[in-house]
């Protein structure tokens, strides 16, 4: 094509001046959940600015809890008024989709976030220092570890109550992420929930060096990944001339041509599309922690403050998988035959890799990190199904998984010794003898992870594998069961350790938590058992939420 042609194009575009831009109309009602949370986050910032330090904690806790509850109520209201099914629509000028999957995932994220906030707010685990209760977050993020500054801050009873608004911002981003209906929104949402998480990772009270290291790693790799995503978006834009899911999808399956035939040589050729989509998908796979984009997971999970880890492990996965689903099902269904095999491969190595490497872990948090990787693999199996069942099974799995995860990490926070949480497995020896209840609860979570029947883990696994098998990925199911067998081994190892090995003399003590953590753990156990024994209701819910709007 000649340079002039392009030039003309451009001048033509500029020739007719854009006289008026009609104001966008925003359906505030349908965006209520997100708006509430973001608003609350802003309020949280103001609280940090104006409320006296003593009462900040309570104010923040109050704001967050109220906001999350309200947002959840809003989600429920929207769902019950049929936005999930019949009245599903695109809102905010095509930026946000309000449909079944979006609402279901938002609901899940909000509940998970609420429970996580409880664990954030726990202040009974550590012994009272200098007459004020302390939580698991650093007294003053700026203070150098081990410096006088830090000691002073501790003495003064500083607490980093910023974590609450940060968490709210993250949740806000996560709410948008799975419901984003154009690539730009997707990217923004990604950053909005990533950046606060980077910070949260750095705020551990104990083992601060590790915490900061985790933050750096997470940040660098995350930014790296999002750069890829962005470039992918650019390429898709180049291919389709638009970043709105609907349009791109139309272009992909050829019902719409946005590209001047003259330029087809440059753009509109599938290389752009394929490479672009691959790069975006890569960014999402990074967030869900799929092999080979998983390597940040263990380090970050280990280094981050345990409540944050639980929050990340649960909510981030939900949001990221939501976005992945929407991308693959709404934007790239036309490319199914291209990405399915690739995702198949990713799912396989993720399941196997996660399970195998986990066997030799010695730190409980790293162990859970690898198990979360393996689970990402299982969920991917459901994604592959490319059926409505596949979607709903993934939704169900995410719901089941997130609560177990938060509960498990909450239990981890309870087992402590002089250096804070005792995360090395050897410390857990004989826990079942010393405090049977805690050990039993943790065993329940582990069994759920292992997918033993009568736990939510089994229902989820069954749903996903069933969908995959129906979707014609039977071999994936076989790989799945094999890796679950491998995975079972290390979950059982922990149980053996807790119940069958003699307690060590210098073993850790089990702190008695406040009602906050108890709720978190309780909810975890309840969800595990309910979804294990009588999952029908939730399966229906996920089933109704199985359809995307486009």
């Amino acid at each position: 094509m000649s340079a002039t042609a392009v030039h003309n194009l451009w001048t033509m575009a500029a020739a007719d001046p854009i006289d008026k831009i009609d104001a966008p109309n925003i359906e505030y009602g349908q965006l209520a959940p997100t708006l509430i949370v973001i608003g609350a986050a802003v309020i949280g910032v103001l609280v940090e600015a104006f409320v006296p330090r003593k009462s900040r904690y309570y104010a923040q806790l109050f704001v967050s809890v109220v906001a999350l509850t309200a947002a959840f109520a809003a989600v429920v209201a929207l769902a019950s008024s049929g936005y999930g099914t019949t009245k599903a629509r695109i809102a905010a000028m095509g930026a946000i989709a309000v449909d079944g999957p979006a609402l279901f995932l938002q609901g899940t994220i909000l509940l998970a976030g609420l429970v996580a906030i409880f664990t954030f707010a726990e202040r009974r685990l550590d012994p009272v220092a200098h007459g004020n209760r302390i939580d698991s977050f650093v007294a003053q993020a700026g203070a150098v570890p081990g410096s006088e500054g830090e000691q002073a801050a501790t003495k003064a009873g500083f607490t980093t109550t910023e974590v609450f608004p940060l968490a709210l911002f993250a949740i806000g981003g996560m709410l948008v992420f799975p419901s984003a209906n154009d690539l730009l929104t997707l990217f923004i949402a990604l950053e909005v929930f990533s950046l606060p998480l980077y910070l949260l990772c750095a705020l551990a009270r104990r083992k601060r060096l590790m915490s900061q290291e985790a933050a750096v790693k997470y940040f660098l790799l995350g930014a790296f990944a999002s750069a890829f995503t962005l470039f992918g978006i650019a390429l898709i834009y180049g291919y389709a001339g638009s970043v709105t899911y609907g349009t791109v999808a139309k272009v992909v399956d050829g019902t719409l041509t946005t590209v001047d035939p003259a330029l087809a040589g440059t753009m509109g050729n599938d290389a752009l599309l394929l490479i672009g989509s691959a790069m975006i998908v890569m960014g999402l796979l990074f967030k869900v922690g799929a092999v080979p984009f998983h390597m940040w997971t263990p380090d970050v999970y280990q280094g981050a403050p345990t409540p944050v880890t639980g929050f990340m492990a649960a909510a981030t996965k939900v949001a990221a998988f939501g976005a992945l689903l929407r991308l693959l099902y709404v934007v790239l269904p036309g490319l199914r035959w291209d990405w399915r095999p690739v995702m198949f491969g990713v799912a396989v190595i993720t399941m196997l890799g996660g399970a195998i490497v986990a066997i030799t872990q010695t730190d409980i948090k790293r162990l859970l990190a690898y198990s979360s990787i393996a689970h990402a693999g299982f969920i991917l199996a459901g994604v592959i199904a490319t059926t409505e069942d596949g979607v709903s099974s993934v939704l169900f799995y995410l719901g089941a998984y997130s609560f177990v995860t938060i509960g498990a990490f909450a239990v981890v926070t309870l087992v402590r010794d002089a250096g804070g949480e005792a995360t090395h497995l050897s410390k857990w020896a004989g826990l079942g003898r010393r405090s049977p209840l805690v050990a039993a609860v943790f065993a329940v979570f582990l069994l759920a992870f292992a997918g033993i029947p009568l736990t939510s883990g089994f229902s989820g696994k069954f749903a996903v594998f069933k969908a995959a098998a129906e979707g014609g990925a039977g071999s994936l199911v076989v790989v799945g069961v094999i890796s679950s067998a491998i995975a079972a081994f290390f979950y059982i190892r922990v149980i053996v350790l807790m119940f069958f090995s003699e307690p060590k003399a210098d073993g850790p003590t089990v702190a008695v938590p406040s009602p906050l953590t108890m709720t978190a753990i309780g909810v975890g156990v309840a969800v595990t058992l309910v979804l294990g024994v009588a999952p029908q209701y939730f399966l229906d819910l996920a089933g109704q939420a199985g359809v995307f709007v486009r």
Partner: protein
């Protein structure tokens, strides 16, 4: 709808488990009695099931059916046929004895921190296992069965790993190490089996769309559901693998000796006499009924495996130095017989196999529990540590001998009936197989008598010279078992009447006719 008898039978021990677990730490004895009480109540319910069941009635009776997980096509469907009834009865019958026999097995050695309540846990777990076993005998929905088939592993696992045999050669660390090795081995073997079955279960759903064996079997019968040959075979293999691990069939057997060796005698009985029966039962109930063609296709291989199990198990039993491991290998040999009977696909074979499940339960229970009493006295599992016991404890020796004779299936005792039926059944279709299997009875005599001779006869070893004879509690455990062994050996008719109709159904499932005797065939 009428009173859900089956649900009650399964639920009662579950309730009992919770109740027992809830007993405060100090009231150990109360927990024991509570557990015993619940097991007896369950027995009563099981007997009512036995009475309410009409052998000549429908195939599945006392059925219950409720919606459960529609999305998975799963219903809560219970129902029993003659085979299930007899096995439920066996389970419910053995449990009180197991509990009685294990009366002191879980008494804490020293008073640990008050939160740790081994005794309550022990009995609660046993009851939990009973509940799950019973319901998996009742389930007529594949998924429902699968769930409890798998869930069963967890309490069993804690029973094996948590409450090991105290008579252990070697240090405590060594003991607990071996124990948890055994427990993990047990769990992983069965879990792998179960997961592979899970794949098959999912496959079955994809093919059939629901899990009710009755519906599927019907659909297969009237041709509205036809599986591709390969699909059926794969699904069959998936199911069979899990059951073969549980049963256990050579070469998937090695978890059993460890598990039985390391666990206390009552738990060992629970494993081999009750839990493992689910495996063989499931072969009969699911493999043959859902995949008749594939079953026939696989028969030759399975028969060979069964034969290997019979001979191999017996030979290894001869080679054991540890009483409990010996019994374990003997059981492997016996499970070989059961599988042989099932896949001989003759009425005699299958009736024999079913009777064998019951009788083996009784005989192993008798032998193993007495062995447990013996071991608890001397504090050693090694055969070499005993000798001349019959001189100091004649009753113990006598009961032990009877248990042994039952194990070598002496005519007049129950196991003979079943073993002979299995042999005849196998012989009728595969003479060579029948003959080879008959070698098993010689080897059985060998390992049993060697065991008896080494432990009970000869000059009295100083260590055993002060050994007390059976106590009342122990007699209460053993006597009824022996009585049953004898009476079922002399008059097994009630049992066969119960089983025969069910077996005929299975035979019609696989569309097999008994081979006609030559003389009649000639006519």
């Amino acid at each position: 709808m009428s009173f859900p008898l089956l649900t009650a039978t399964a639920a009662l021990p579950a309730v009992g488990a919770i109740a027992t677990a809830a007993v405060p730490a100090a009231r150990r004895t109360a927990a024991k009695w509570l557990a015993l009480l619940f097991s007896l109540a369950t027995l009563a319910l099981a007997i009512t099931v036995l009475i309410r069941f009409d052998p000549d009635g429908d195939r599945y009776q006392l059925t219950e059916s409720h919606a459960w997980i529609a999305d998975f096509g799963v219903r809560y469907e219970l129902g029993v046929d003659g085979i299930a009834v007899s096995l439920i009865a066996l389970t419910a019958l053995l449990l009180p004895f197991i509990i009685l026999a294990g009366w002191h097995d879980a008494d804490p050695l020293e008073t640990k921190s008050s939160r740790w309540r081994p005794t309550q846990g022990f009995f609660a777990l046993i009851l939990a296992v009973e509940a799950m076993v019973i319901i998996s005998f009742q389930a007529t929905d594949v998924f429902l069965f699968y769930i409890f088939f798998e869930a069963m592993l967890i309490p069993m696992y804690f029973l094996i790993g948590g409450f090991g045999d105290r008579a252990h050669a070697g240090s405590d660390e060594k003991a607990s190490a071996q124990r948890s090795y055994a427990a993990v081995k047990f769990l992983l073997y069965n879990l792998v089996g179960g997961l592979i079955m899970l794949a098959a279960v999912i496959g079955l759903y994809v093919v059939a769309g629901n899990f009710s064996i009755q519906e599927i079997a019907e659909a297969r019968a009237n041709g509205s559901l036809d599986m591709a040959t390969n699909t059926e075979r794969l699904l069959f293999l998936g199911f069979f693998f899990a059951f073969a691990v549980k049963a256990p069939l050579w070469p998937l057997h090695t978890w059993l000796p460890n598990a039985m060796g390391e666990s206390t005698a009552p738990v060992a009985v629970l494993i081999t006499a009750v839990v493992d029966k689910v495996g063989t039962f499931a072969m009969l109930r699911f493999c043959l009924q859902l995949f008749p063609e594939a079953s026939k296709w696989a028969t030759p291989v399975i028969l060979v495996l069964a034969l290997i199990s019979i001979i191999y198990g017996a030979l290894l039993a001869v080679g054991q130095r540890d009483i409990k491991r010996l019994v374990a290998y003997a059981s492997i040999s016996h499970f070989g017989f059961i599988v042989l009977g099932i896949f001989a696909m003759t009425s005699q074979g299958q009736s024999g196999a079913t009777l064998y499940m019951v009788n083996h339960g009784l005989s192993t229970a008798a032998l193993m529990l007495v062995a447990g009493f013996l071991i608890s006295r001397r504090g050693s599992r090694l055969i070499a540590d005993y000798g001349g016991v019959q001189k100091v404890a004649p009753v113990l020796a006598g009961t032990f001998l009877i248990g042994g004779l039952a194990t070598l299936s002496l005519p007049g005792l129950a196991p003979f009936v079943s073993e002979f039926l299995v042999l005849v059944g196998a012989f009728a279709r595969y003479p060579v197989v029948g003959i080879i299997a008959t070698l098993g009875i010689v080897l059985a005599a060998l390992y049993t008598l060697v065991l008896y001779q080494r432990t009970m006869t000869g000059p009295v070893k100083p260590e055993v010279s002060t050994m007390p004879d059976l106590r009342v509690r122990e007699l209460v455990v053993v006597a009824p078992l022996i009585a049953l062994l004898i009476s079922l050996g002399v008059y097994p008719k009630p049992l066969t009447d119960l089983v025969n109709p069910a077996v005929e159904h299975t035979m019609s499932d696989v569309q097999k006719k008994d081979p006609k005797p030559e003389v009649e065939a000639a006519k």
